[in-house]
């Protein structure tokens, strides 16, 4: 009996196919199989011995049956695996549907800026790109012959109509049509008669205006500092006195240079700071021009979208925005 078990174990260990299993099964458990032969040998034994011997044969039989079933399952698993392996593909090949499109970095930047201000409760307004001189200048406290007009070389359509030189006319448009309080930003294209390495005759600005009761210069500092820290990461922000005819006090806002970390480099002209925003408390004359009641005041700001995009994405030439080279655009999917 011991030899039979040994023989079986040797055979089953070598078994590779279901056919092998079948043959082994016949050899040991078939009608003329080795186990059946053993039963036949029982005839010559005494009762006690028969009982003992029978028990052992049944044990062996059970053992062989179980082993065969196990082996069979194993073989099936291996076969299945083998057939799947045969269907192998190169999973590193590119997908059928490539996601090759892209959103222009200017649009991406505007969307990001909008999202930040919207989360603070600012509305989004759009203005006209072709504007009256009155809205672009006069209502903003820039009368004709004001030297500040030199700061912005203007494209004219006729004597009274021009391509807006900044998004600020939207301030007037909105305040003329809405009662205070108002709080909105307004992104859009603006135009200046200027073209060189750092200037494009068309570029984009985002204007912001918040008018309510009892708004302070400190609020302007708080809102813009937080905005800049969200947009650029945790950078130092500083406010510097400046001049815009339509705000008083006015400020220019610098962030610590994100290229050199404030140590000084070519981008920041070795100052460690980058000028990114102009802002101020809305000039009393402007509020008077739109007939807002005295108890209302507020702040306004304007930023250059190209500048923000250039700093954020490390773009070094403003021309790239308007050439629309696909190799450039596709980097912004």
């Amino acid at each position: 009996m011991y030899h039979i078990k040994k023989e079986f174990e040797a055979l089953i260990a070598d078994a590779k196919t279901e056919e092998d299993i079948k043959q082994i099964k016949a050899k040991f458990l078939g009608k003329k199989g080795k186990v059946s032969e053993l039963f036949k040998q029982m005839g010559g034994l005494g009762d006690e011995q028969k009982k003992e011997f029978g028990k052992n044969i049944n044990k062996l039989k059970q053992y062989i049956e179980d082993s065969l079933t196990n082996k069979q399952t194993q073989i099936k698993e291996i076969r299945k695996k083998e057939s799947l392996e045969k269907e192998s593909i190169d999973v590193t090949l590119p997908a059928r549907r490539g996601f090759l499109g892209s959103i222009h970095p200017i649009t991406k930047t505007i969307i990001e800026i909008e999202d930040i201000f919207k989360s603070m409760g600012f509305d989004v307004e759009t203005g006209y790109e072709i504007e009256f001189d009155r809205y672009n200048f006069e209502m903003l406290n820039i009368p004709k012959e004001h030297p500040a007009r030199d700061m912005q070389d203007t494209f004219y359509i006729n004597d009274n109509v021009l391509l807006r030189t900044h998004t600020s006319p939207t301030q007037i448009r909105v305040m003329e049509s809405k009662k205070p309080p108002v709080m909105f930003i307004s992104p859009g294209k603006v135009y200046r008669r200027d073209s060189d390495i750092t200037h494009s005759p068309m570029f984009h600005q985002v204007e912001g205006l918040l008018i309510d009761k009892d708004i302070h210069f400190s609020d302007l500092k708080g809102v813009l500092s937080d905005f800049l820290k969200i947009f650029f990461g945790d950078v130092p922000v500083r406010f510097r006195p400046s001049y815009f005819p339509f705000t008083e006090p006015s400020a220019e806002v610098d962030i610590g240079c994100i290229i050199c970390g404030g140590k000084g480099c070519r981008v920041c002209s070795n100052t460690g700071y980058l000028e990114v925003l102009g802002c101020g408390m809305v000039h009393p004359n402007v509020l008077k021009n739109v007939n807002y009641p005295d108890e209302y005041n507020g702040f306004a700001f304007g930023l250059g979208v190209e500048r923000f995009a250039m700093l954020k994405y490390g773009i070094d030439n403003i021309k790239l925005f308007f050439e629309n080279d696909i190799r450039f655009l596709k980097q912004f999917s």
């Binding site: 090949l93 590119p94 490539g98 090759l100 499109g101 892209s102 959103i103 222009h104 200017i106 649009t107 969307i111 409760g121 509305d123 989004v124 759009t126 006209y128 790109e129 072709i130 009256f132 012959e145 004001h146 030297p147 500040a148 700061m151 494209f155 004219y156 006729n158 009274n160 109509v161 309080p181 294209k189 135009y191 073209s195 005759p201 918040l210 309510d212 009892d214 302070h216 210069f217 400190s218 609020d219 500092k221 708080g222 809102v223 500083r238 406010f239 006195p241 001049y243 005819p245 008083e248 006090p249 002209s269 408390m281 925005f321 308007f322 050439e323 629309n324 080279d325 696909i326 596709k330």
Partner: protein
């Protein structure tokens, strides 16, 4: 404006280094662009002790203290005992030039005498920089105060006319650092001649010339002393002679533009009047200007001798022969000067200041300062008396402010005492008039101060904006509704990018000759009055021009394909104004795919149609595709798009003729497909809600139907006809075959999903429905079953 650090120190005590000072005034509103230390290139004082002329060259011996060098120079104005900055061979100039020995015959030049140009003090010099004769030979220039200096370049905002001088900047430094101003000496002796016996002044136009003063003196014209020449150079002004230099020196020092006339070249008395039409004047820049009646001139009895506040005439100017000068110090209306300077395209240091505003009370102070300098450096004998023509006094304005109001505007907590102190240092002479109110008197040089907000800014900038802690505003909140067009723009941008198109951004102006090819109506064009370049002279009425430019650009960069879109404004003339509309434009060209699965496929009409179908799905609209009437589209492969009976855009291939205009070779595989849709026209549909449609209650049944129809029949019409049947739930066109034996026919195969809400279909019912459908197609389109 460039200011010398040392010169500033003469007007106010400065304990800060030049760099620290720059930082300090930048943070107080005088933005410093750059601080440059003067590079003397290691030069020393050298005295010419011998000169020989040879072939237009001067071979000199120059004593530099420790030795005498041989130096050759081409400058004719070298005289024995003149002193110049000298560098020896081996020295490196700041322009990168290295000095080496040069041979001129037997003469070996061992160094170089320098001009202001080589010391980076001006762009181009006409001669060597003459030094004071009192300087010790061999002394390093870097040890001389005027050379051991920094030039601080300040970018002044237009409101700060008061700071357009050394004194002006010093006043700000004084206020910020709490010091006091040191005024220069301005006294001089008088001679026994009275100006009133020589000249009189009449003002015809007090509005544009509120004040005109004149002083006279006999002078000796010669070069200015070194410190005057150097200070002018550092300020970017070229030295001429002592008289002219001193008027410029005072202009830079105090901000009062002045003009010196050669008295003997004037004919009769002075009149300040409007120019006559077409009156001409030869100005000091040697150019002739034609004037008109809007311009103010200073005239003698014969002709204009100066364009008021802008520039004097050459014929009345001071020359080397001048013996007597009449010194003008006047006040002109900023607008008048600005208009004149702009019309003549003539800008000067003088007009720059008058345009922005010069203190009307400064005239006589400045001319006294000038006279005291002329006495010292031009041997001036000043006449008694002066002419001072004006109609009124120029009184400072007063403003009443509230301490609380200032703090409220700033969100600050500044103490009354601190506010008062700053205002005092600004020379605003504060007077507290009640527990919260104070009155300030604004000096007549501060044109920018009008009200409390301005005073608040002054306080804030002198305190430092960093002294105001950031806060967040308390506001009345409200919900904000996104505008339909903005909503549409965002949705479309995101979806098109997902679909594989790249967004472009183009200039809003374009080439009118190109735009005419694409526009039905040139009368609608909005032209620019002053375009920057010829090819950007008109506002676009379509996005197509820009997109085709982009395509062309990318082709030039060897791109094999392009699928671009743009969302932007187009502009149409509307009387004197303009109408603006938001458009979506797209262009496709080249390889739609080039990959291992699909191989190579080119963009065609149906790729672009996924854009219009996307719009239909996104906004629940249905375009009517009508045969195009746009001349730039392929007549057989283009459609005009209509929604609600309105033409809202187009889709189609570019007409083969148009490839020429863009200099693109027509390739029948690589067609250019365009699309444009007016977003404002479809915006009204954006907010419309599409209601839920009930799902079929019972299992649906799917049947296929293939029919043969004439090629001219639109598949969409056939599909729509099938969809009309009540039981039809969905129709999918899954095959179009046009290579039939009869070449005028095509086969269309549809998968039709049938539903029945009442009961489960029985086969005979299905057959009946399919027969009805087929019969309808036979009737309507003369369809045949595909055999």
């Amino acid at each position: 404006m460039k200011v010398s650090y040392n010169w500033l120190k003469e007007f106010v005590d400065i304990e800060l280094s030049a760099a620290e000072l720059a930082e300090k005034i930048t943070m107080a509103g005088l933005e410093v662009d750059s601080v440059t230390k003067i590079d003397t290139c290691g030069s020393v004082v050298g005295e010419i002790v011998d000169i020989t002329e040879k072939d237009n060259l001067y071979l000199t011996k120059v004593d530099i203290g420790s030795e005498v060098l041989n130096i050759a120079t081409a400058d004719k104005n070298v005289n024995l005992h003149d002193k110049f900055p000298v560098v020896k061979e081996g020295a490196l100039l700041s322009n990168g030039v290295k000095i080496s020995k040069k041979k001129f015959g037997d003469f070996v030049s061992e160094g170089m005498m320098l001009s202001a140009e080589e010391l980076n003090l001006e762009d181009s010099s006409s001669g060597l920089l003459k030094l004071d004769e009192t300087l010790r030979n061999g002394m390093a220039l870097s040890e001389i105060d005027e050379f051991n200096d920094y030039i601080i370049d300040i970018e002044l905002t237009p409101n700060r006319a008061d700071a357009l001088s050394i004194l002006g900047v010093a006043r700000d430094i004084k206020a910020i650092t709490k010091k006091s101003i040191k005024y220069p000496k301005m006294d001089f002796a008088l001679v026994e001649k009275n100006i009133k016996n020589y000249i009189s002044v009449k003002i015809d136009d007090y509005k544009n010339c509120p004040r005109y003063t004149l002083l006279m003196a006999d002078v000796v014209v010669k070069p200015s002393p070194m410190f005057i020449r150097l200070r002018l150079l550092k300020s970017g002004i070229r030295p001429i002679n002592n008289v002219v230099d001193i008027t410029n020196y005072v202009l830079m020092a105090m901000g009062q533009p002045m003009h010196s006339f050669d008295f003997n070249r004037l004919s009769g008395d002075i009149c300040v009047r409007r120019a006559k039409n077409k009156e001409k004047i030869l100005a000091l820049d040697s150019k002739e200007y034609e004037l008109d009646e809007s311009m103010l001139v200073i005239a003698d009895s014969k002709k204009p001798v100066a364009i008021a506040g802008v520039m004097g005439s050459e014929e009345s100017s001071v020359t080397d022969d001048t013996k007597t000068v009449a010194l003008e110090s006047a006040h002109f209306n900023p607008v008048s000067v600005r208009m004149t300077a702009r019309k003549l395209k003539l800008h000067s240091e003088s007009s720059h200041r008058f345009e922005r505003g010069v203190d009307p009370n400064l005239c006589l102070t400045a001319s006294s300062y000038a006279m005291s300098l002329l006495e010292k450096y031009a041997d001036a004998k000043v006449y008694m008396g002066y002419i001072d023509q004006k109609e009124t006094e120029f009184k400072p304005k007063t403003i009443v402010c509230s301490f609380e109001g200032i703090n409220r505007l700033l969100g600050s907590d500044f103490e009354q005492k601190a506010v008062k102190e700053i205002v005092e240092y600004l020379d605003f002479k504060p007077k507290v008039i009640s527990i919260d109110k104070f009155k300030v008197t604004i000096p007549t040089y501060r044109f920018d101060i009008e009200g409390e907000a301005d005073i608040a800014e002054e306080v804030a900038r002198c305190m430092g904006y960093d002294k105001i802690a950031p806060t967040l505003p308390v506001v009345q909140t409200s919900f904000k509704r996104k505008k339909p067009v903005d909503y549409a723009k965002h949705q479309i941008t995101k979806t098109l990018a997902d679909m594989g198109l790249s967004e472009s951004v183009n200039y809003s102006f374009t080439d009118s000759s190109k735009l005419k090819l694409f526009s039905k109506n040139e009368d609608e064009f909005v032209y620019l009055k002053n375009p920057l370049i010829e090819g950007q002279d008109v506002m676009r009425t379509t996005l197509v021009c820009g997109l085709l430019d982009n395509l062309k650009f990318n082709m030039s960069k060897n791109a094999k394909s392009a699928a671009l879109f743009e969302i932007g404004r187009v502009f149409f003339k509307d009387g004197d104004f303009a109408k603006e509309s938001d458009r979506l434009g797209a262009v496709m060209w080249g390889e739609a795919s080039f990959n291992w699965i699909e191989g190579r496929r080119f963009y065609d009409f149906y790729d672009m149609k996924s854009v219009t179908e996307m719009l239909e799905k996104l906004f629940n609209i249905e375009f009517l595709y009508r045969k195009t009437e746009r001349k730039f589209l392929h007549t057989g492969r283009g459609a005009d798009l209509f929604v609600g009976g309105k033409d809202v855009g187009f889709i189609g291939e570019l007409h083969p003729d148009f490839y020429d205009y863009y200099d693109i070779k027509f390739d029948k595989n690589m067609r250019i497909i365009l699309c444009e849709v007016d977003l404002n026209s479809i915006a009204e549909y954006v907010t419309r809600v599409k209601m839920f449609e009930k799902l079929p209650k019972l299992p649906t049944v799917v049947r296929d139907l293939a029919v043969v129809v004439d090629k001219s029949i639109n598949a969409s019409d056939v599909k729509r006809a099938i969809g009309l049947f009540d039981n039809v739930y969905e129709v999918v066109l899954f095959d179009v075959y046009d290579k039939l034996e009869d070449s005028s026919k095509k086969s269309l195969a549809f998968r039709i999903v049938l539903k029945n809400d009442d009961k489960t279909f029985v086969d005979t019912e299905i057959e009946e429905i399919m027969n009805n459908i087929f019969n309808a197609l036979v009737k309507k389109f003369d369809a045949k079953l595909r055999g």
